[in-house]
């Protein structure tokens, strides 16, 4: 027992360092929907307009799809892929706690879906407006 104690202490220290690193790494990832609103507003240099976000989301901009083509104009409900007909989980944070909690995912899907609907990237203002609207949904 006397012999094994120092080893165990070292092990414990390693484990707690590892755990701290994992929590730190996880913490850097886990964000809340509000964080994205704040981030996009800061990037845009202007406050979000939920009304403008609703219009942007539900009407076709320059392509044949709008956001609502897949996410419906009630994003608190389950959506349907306009090409494959597959179900898409609700987008509004109030209806789906997993949405807008991972920056890498949020950036990836804004990039992809803006290209599909606008054939370009969305501006920070457009993203702020959409976030503002999604967060206003009950």
């Amino acid at each position: 027992m006397m012999r094994s104690t120092p080893f165990m202490e070292t092990d414990m220290r390693h484990i707690s360092i590892l755990a701290a690193l994992l929590i730190a790494a996880g913490g850097a990832h886990a964000e809340s929907p509000r964080d994205f609103l704040t981030r996009f507003e800061k990037e845009a240099g202007a406050a979000a307009s939920p009304e403008r976000g609703a219009r942007f989301f539900t009407t076709k901009q320059s392509g044949e799809w709008s956001c609502a083509s897949c996410h419906t104009d009630k994003p608190t409900q389950v959506g349907r892929h306009a090409k494959t007909d597959k179900a898409i989980t609700a987008l509004a944070p109030v209806a789906n706690a997993e949405r807008f909690t991972d920056a890498a995912k949020v950036d990836k899907w804004f990039r992809r879906n803006c290209n599909d609907t606008l054939s370009r990237l969305c501006t920070a203002q457009e993203k702020a407006d959409v976030m503002g609207w999604l967060l206003s949904l009950k």
Binding site: W65, C70, H81, A82, K83, T84, K86, K105, R111, R112, N113, N115, D116
Partner: protein
């Protein structure tokens, strides 16, 4: 000297059709990866890629001489010797796949299977975030191998003074009697 060269039939037709069809299906899948509008094209390209690889795995046992896995199984020693011979400017010459190319082939077959299987799972909403990551890592890994493969083809074509791209189109190589290894 012209008289020293000899035309050799290296790649059978199924092997060549497989190669260029795989190029087409992988390029299509890669270019449509980010588009939901082209999701059906992407899925079709993925199924094509999986089918082509299934055929190639079979052809690796029953195909033409240089198409068989037994003809080009790359051992670490063979790969090391081949790469060393490239560095020394006296490249070992293989009629069929050289050991470096063979590594690329097995990597592409393996990564292609992982990409196709994980892509199918993602499409069926299985495996969550992990499966998406696996799909992207496998596909990006394939692209990395493709880039290295193309670089290798250019370097080898230049060092051996033979047009490897043309050989994969016509099936024929003009073999000169230099430093033969296999």
């Amino acid at each position: 000297m012209q008289t020293d060269t000899q035309a050799v039939r290296v790649w059978d037709l199924p092997t060549r059709l497989f190669h260029w069809s795989l190029v087409a299906s992988f390029a299509t899948a890669f270019l449509t990866a980010e588009s939901e509008k082209l999701r059906d094209v992407h899925v079709l390209a993925g199924y094509s890629l999986a089918g082509l690889i299934a055929f190639r795995l079979l052809w690796g046992f029953v195909g033409g001489a240089h198409a068989r896995f037994a003809d080009f199984l790359p051992t670490p020693r063979k790969v090391f010797d081949y790469l060393t011979s490239l560095m020394n400017g006296e490249p070992q010459h293989y009629v069929g796949h050289n050991p470096a190319g063979a590594v690329a082939i097995f990597a592409l077959l393996g990564l292609g299977l992982v990409a196709a299987a994980s892509g199918w799972a993602v499409y069926e909403d299985m495996g969550g975030h992990f499966m998406e990551e696996l799909h992207e890592v496998a596909a990006n890994g394939m692209m990395a191998v493709v880039v290295i493969h193309i670089a290798g083809v250019i370097v080898s074509s230049w060092l051996h003074r033979e047009n490897l791209v043309k050989a994969m189109v016509t099936g024929w190589k003009n073999i000169r009697n230099e430093n033969p290894a296999g």
